[in-house]
């Protein structure tokens, strides 16, 4: 016999799995610390690429000046400034990534917990040979 409750739950689970669930399940494979650390690392790498590209554009813009004064340029101070800005950006991106990815992990874990509750319900439903058992009402994903 068709169980309306079971169909509803299976529909919710399927739509979650095919939507945001894919990403969530991938996220919660990691421990929170590992996930956040990995993404901080990725962010720093991406930021480094972006910073290198910006530096490239700046050099390209001033290329005539750079070629003319290649010998006279104060490389020490330019290097220190470039490195200083880079370190500042690294720190900034580390903090932003820490905040963004911690919060994302938290949300993903909550959704996955609800998904597992539904799974548990279904497994008990099948164990009881299709007899529904009372469960507290749950939220949507």
């Amino acid at each position: 016999m068709l169980s309306k409750k079971k169909i509803k739950i299976m529909f919710r689970m399927a739509s979650y799995e095919q939507g945001v669930g894919k990403k969530d399940l991938n996220t919660v494979r990691f421990y929170k610390a590992d996930y956040v650390r990995l993404n901080i690392l990725k962010s720093v790498v991406c930021m480094t690429i972006a910073y290198a590209l910006v530096l490239g554009l700046v050099i390209f813009y001033n290329i005539e000046y750079v070629i003319k004064n290649a010998v006279k340029l104060p490389y020490d101070s330019i290097g220190i400034k470039t490195l200083g800005i880079y370190i500042f950006l690294v720190v900034f991106y580390v903090f932003v990534s820490l905040f963004v990815y911690s919060s994302r992990y938290g949300h993903a874990r909550k959704r996955v917990q609800r998904y597992f509750k539904y799974l548990k319900y279904l497994s008990k439903y099948y164990e009881n040979d299709g007899e529904e058992y009372e469960e507290e009402e749950r939220d949507d994903f």
């Binding site: 962010s43 991406c46 930021m47 690429i49 972006a50 590209l53 910006v54 490239g56 554009l57 390209f60 813009y61 290329i63 005539e64 932003v96 990534s97 963004v100």
Partner: protein, 341 residues
């Protein structure tokens, strides 16, 4: 009026829910066609891209592609257009897009649409809608998207200005050409002012919208629209010395209206039915303010069509039958009366 709008909203929602897959493809196709068409109209440097069949083909591909591919196609088309002016600039444009991706869009992928939409809204004359919508829909990080969108629009504008230069001289592939464009952008005070206004309005709209008072969303949009109007009229007249103040006023008003419509379709609340509830559990005391949504039930129209019956050999004519029956009964009555006599 409000009920008509609510009915329209329900109708659109119903259609959207039922045919979402097709509606989404249609929306993407129309947006892609509009974007490529506008690009060809304003920066039609590339003969390849100016072909109607290619534009249509790209729009179809964009319509059936995932959202991320859609934005990549738009970026690639803009790079191809710039490539026709200068190879150096095309490379620079690609680098700019890469910087934007690595430094910002990677964190908030959805914001690429805001960034890419702003240049096209500028061409349509209604870029002012973006800070209002960002304030209502997104968190304050969308300020960065607004700034980047304006920057990209002014890069296009500078390329458009410099395209004439490349036609007359042979500097199109030199570094000098790049420097001209960068100097043009750096010296553009109106662009800088637009960035500051957009950022401020997006933030202000967001701050007012999250406040705990009735009609906070509407108030935030109204405040944002009025401030946008004042700021852009002043900056147009004093910074740009532009004669297009009427365009700015019309643009801001239309943008405000669009933002109100979007907000209405997003959520419409009935503040006359606000309920303030307080309750507690073991750990917290809750102050809950519940505002019901405005809604109307869909009209249940049942049209009953009555067709005239076409007489057949079996169909009786009612009038004839009734008259016949009457005549028969009259005959019977007169017959019995005569018998009685």
């Amino acid at each position: 009026m409000i009920f008509k709008l609510l009915e329209l909203k329900n109708f659109i929602k119903r259609i959207g829910d039922r045919y979402w897959v097709y509606v989404k493809i249609l929306i993407k196709f129309v947006s892609a066609l509009a974007i490529f068409g506008l690009m060809n109209y304003h920066m039609g440097y590339s003969e390849v891209m100016d072909n109607v069949i290619i534009t249509l083909g790209l729009s179809v591909i964009a319509a059936f592609s995932p959202d991320a591919v859609f934005s990549i196609i738009v970026m690639l088309v803009s790079i191809v257009q710039v490539y026709s002016v200068s190879l150096v600039l095309a490379v620079v444009m690609m680098v700019v897009y890469l910087i934007i991706y690595f430094a910002y869009v990677r964190f908030v992928p959805g914001q690429i649409y805001v960034i890419l939409a702003i240049p096209f809204l500028y061409i349509l004359g209604i870029p002012y809608v973006m800070p209002l919508i960002c304030g209502v829909f997104f968190a304050p990080y969308s300020i960065i998207s607004n700034i980047l969108g304006i920057l990209i629009y002014y890069v296009y504008l500078a390329v458009e200005g410099a395209a004439g230069l490349s036609g007359e001289t042979s500097v199109s592939n030199t570094i000098n050409f790049f420097n001209v464009i960068v100097d043009n952008i750096r010296g553009n005070r109106y662009m800088l002012f637009s960035m500051i206004i957009f950022a401020f309005i997006a933030l202000l709209t967001y701050i007012i919208r999250i406040q705990n008072f009735n009609h906070s969303s509407d108030v935030s949009l109204l405040t944002g629209t009025v401030l946008l109007l004042v700021a852009f009229v002043l900056s147009s007249s004093f910074i740009e010395n532009s004669d297009n103040i009427v365009n700015v006023i019309v643009g801001v008003c239309v943008s405000g209206l669009i933002a109100f419509m979007v907000q209405f379709f997003r959520i419409s609340l009935d503040y006359s039915g606000v309920k303030n509830i307080q309750f507690q559990d073991d750990e917290y005391y809750y102050y809950v303010r519940a505002v019901p949504k405005l809604s109307v039930s869909a009209l249940d129209k049942q049209v009953k069509t009555i067709h005239a019956q076409i007489p057949t050999s079996n169909t009786m004519n009612l009038r004839e039958t009734i008259e016949k029956t009457f005549e028969e009964s009259e005959h019977k009555v007169t017959g019995t009366v005569e018998e009685d006599r």
